[in-house]
Amino acid sequence: MTALHLSNRDDLRGYLLTGPGSADALSAAGLPLPQAQLSAAASAEALVARTGSDEYMAFIGAGAQQPAHEWCFPRADSVLALKGEGWIALMAQVCQYDFRRMQPGDWLMTSVAGVNCWLYHEINGALLIGFDSGYDHYMNELFHTLVNELGGHTLNEGDAR
């Protein structure tokens, strides 16, 4: 297990797709398509969560194709990536959810430090924490402080992979 560290996933662009045809638009762009509501599917360059019967949130890297759809709106999420030994202990300080139950591939929408967030546990072990960028300063300050208190280190650039 590696040491705890935190990074910003500025490489991800977020989109909300809604309405009939949203699933087809994701498929046409070659993006993963989660089947169950409140679940997510990931590929090497994209993460897609199904948040309603015909509503999806997509976060795609530079190498993935943007979905083309009439009801495709850009989102302004900030995304933190937390990885390494002690991440569960850190999250226990800011969220009531029992992260020992969270498995790679799991998607969760909950309140973290009082902020509405989505969370995704990547296959590589990193926990992605997405939230409205209006809380960027607050969440960055908070998580950097907690990571430093727990003996980890933080990165300003790059990702958790």
């Binding site: 009531q96 929408m109 909950t110 309140s111 967030c117």
Partner: protein
């Protein structure tokens, strides 16, 4: 911390929810007494109450049948089942 055990999204802190109260249908044609009862009175006795809840992190509305004595969610109700026609009100002359 008080938890709401939602059959759809699991146990969540009550602070993640907004409570919208009992699902009630406004009277379409009623006198002042009926309207006063609708506007001012609520069921307070313990028992199963059909209520609206909003979960902020997922942005989802729920209609629950909740036992207000035990806090148990007895059933999740489809929103279509509590839909009603908007009454047409006549403005008194």
């Amino acid at each position: 911390m008080k938890l709401l055990d939602c059959p759809v999204i699991g146990k969540r802190p009550i602070s993640e929810f907004d409570y919208l109260g009992e699902v009630r249908v406004p009277p379409s044609q009623a006198d002042e007494l009926v309207w006063a009862d609708y506007v001012f009175n609520r069921k307070g006795a313990p028992g199963v109450l059909r209520e609206r809840w909003y979960h902020r992190p997922t942005g989802r509305w729920f209609v629950f049948d909740r036992d207000t004595l035990t806090d148990e969610i007895v059933a999740v109700v489809d929103a279509a089942d509590v839909r009603y026609e908007e009454p047409r009100y006549e403005i008194p002359a």
